[in-house]
């Protein structure tokens, strides 16, 4: 029997990161993710790691850039307004092809917004977030167990593809407590011959850099990066299908919205409505396949989101607009209730 511990989502992220071999954490306090930093502040000194409260999110992400350049597993975490500040650094990480993990425990926006849960950074994270052509691998956990697992997965994928991976959670996921099994396998970090660890006078100098002033060369770098992204799409896309085989109505939801939606699907089934759920686990790459498949037999998709309708665009694209896609949402820190989702399912079934 596996040993389970009762943990907050934010703490599960921190402990999982340590299990994944991360020994460097840089952060800046912001609700509702501060427990990650607090946990790291307590644990890192005991295991020979580094916890540093940076002077800003901008500094924190650049410290991450430094450790990533040195070839070590490194992370930062923040919440929405802080992620905007990290956007610059994330773009540079992408430009320099550095692996790192960024956690976003989302809160409502725009601006200072609120401190309650939200999914309104979907566009920001799945489209890159900073300037330039790039993507992050975006992982959307919907349980505390997955908060831990996605953190480990994030480090592994970041290293494998030399990309930034983001765990995109929300205030509820960060704050909720559930039993977690932390006994999982972690793939060791690969060799990083490109890292700036000092030449030891044995090799030509390594350069970590995102500048390329010759347009022909910059074009090549961008194209090569997107070829790598294609591999990510092919190999790493993750999703969960729930009661989709015979579904007439398909919910699309991730994170906390997927948990709520699962209850609504169960309730709808009790009432004889064939509802199902597609839960993207990677938001980038977005799982097009299950939506394309579902579009052949469902009569409507309902995108359940904690925002004004962001993932709905990807659902429309993935299903090639073959059937209507409607939105069921709450915003500003509000969460749709199972009843609200059920109402939407019932309405769609008529």
């Amino acid at each position: 029997m596996a040993d389970k511990v009762l943990m907050k989502g934010n703490e599960a992220i921190a402990e999982a990161a340590i299990k994944a071999g991360c020994r460097h954490y840089f952060g800046y306090p912001i609700t509702p993710q501060t427990e990650v930093a607090a946990y790291m502040a307590k644990r890192m000194p005991k295991i020979g790691g580094t916890f540093l409260q940076a002077e800003s999110e901008i500094a924190a992400i650049n410290m991450v850039y430094g450790v990533a350049s040195a070839g070590l597993r490194v992370m930062t975490s923040s919440s929405s307004p802080g992620i905007s500040l990290k956007g610059e650094g994330i773009s540079y990480l992408a430009g320099a092809d550095l692996p790192a993990l960024v956690v976003n425990v989302q809160r409502g926006g725009p601006g200072l917004g609120g401190i309650q849960p939200s999914q309104s950074d979907y566009f920001q994270s799945t489209r890159g977030g900073g300037h330039g052509d790039y993507h992050m691998i975006v992982l959307a956990p919907s349980s505390v167990q997955e908060m831990a697992e996605m953190t480990v997965k994030g480090f592994e994928l970041a290293d494998k593809y030399r990309m930034t991976a983001m765990v995109l959670a929300d205030g509820t996921m960060g704050q909720m407590m559930e039993p977690v099994d932390l006994n999982f396998e972690v793939a060791p970090a690969p060799e990083k011959p490109w890292a700036t660890t000092g030449t030891e006078m044995k090799r030509k100098h390594n350069i970590v850099n995102s500048l390329s002033l010759v347009p022909e060369e910059l074009e090549k770098l961008n194209i090569a990066r997107f070829e790598r992204y294609e591999l990510v799409k092919r190999n790493e896309t993750m999703y969960e299908e729930y009661m989709m085989d015979d579904a007439d109505i398909a919910i699309a939801a991730f994170g906390i919205a997927a948990r709520v939606s699962k209850n609504a699907v169960n309730e709808a089934r009790k009432r004889g409505i064939k509802a199902g759920l597609i839960r993207p686990i990677t938001l980038w790459p977005f799982p097009d396949a299950p939506f394309k498949k579902a579009a052949t037999h469902v009569k409507q998709f309902i995108s359940v989101e904690l925002n004004m309708g962001q993932m709905i665009e990807d659902v429309r694209l993935a299903s090639e607009c073959k059937v209507p896609v409607t939105l069921c949402n709450r915003v500003g820190g509000m969460i749709p209730s199972p009843e609200q989702v059920l109402d939407a399912i019932v309405k769609a079934s008529k």
Binding site: A59, A70, G71, N209, S210
Partner: protein
Amino acid sequence: MVVYDKPHALLDVPLHYCPGCLHGVVHKLVAEVIDELGIEGKTIGIAPVGCSVMAYDYFACDMIEAAHGRAPAVATGVKRADPSKVVFTYQGDGDLASIGMAETVHAAARNENITVIFINNAIYGMTGGQMAPTSLVGQVTQTSPYGRDPKLCGYPIRVCELLSELEGPEYLERVTVNSIPHIRAAKTAIKKAFTNQIEGNGFSLIEVVSSCPTNWGMTPQNALKWIEEKMLPYYPLGVYKDRSNGEVKK
């Protein structure tokens, strides 16, 4: 006997700097110090955004190009990743004293065990001669075409003096490279800044008062004189903080 040759820590490549630009002189001093301390193999340099953005192509040690102003934060990460490495940043006045002021001040306040080489030439060179945080009062630049007016844009920042008020930093010195004696003194200061790091003493910053003949609109020779006549009266040379002997200049 070789009296002088290119230091090993600089690669044998042409520099992109304008004729008479003193970046090359400071590059040489940093490289000579790296050679003399025998630390090329374990040194990691951080290049800024600005004229010296491509310094990563010039130094033979491992190099990282940072976002504008963020070099001290990047250096913090590199140093924390492996404290046995020697980490230096090379930053201009826009990078260090404008957009990166927070990173500079906090790295100094933490007494981060890194070496910062700060080039103050009172202008943004790479973008074509705009006002810098260190541009002198009255100085004509592209963005202060009628001369820097303190009523509109305040006064130039004296970085060494500013940082010397902090408890954190180990060593702060302002030098210049407009003459042979000054270059020799600058090298001594840079060597101390690296030695401090190797000995674990903490944050050292060497401010090098430098020139920009192109954007100052003068010959390289006159630029050296302008340093002497205009820059140094506002930016006096000297040690501003040295914790090894408790020296804090007031």
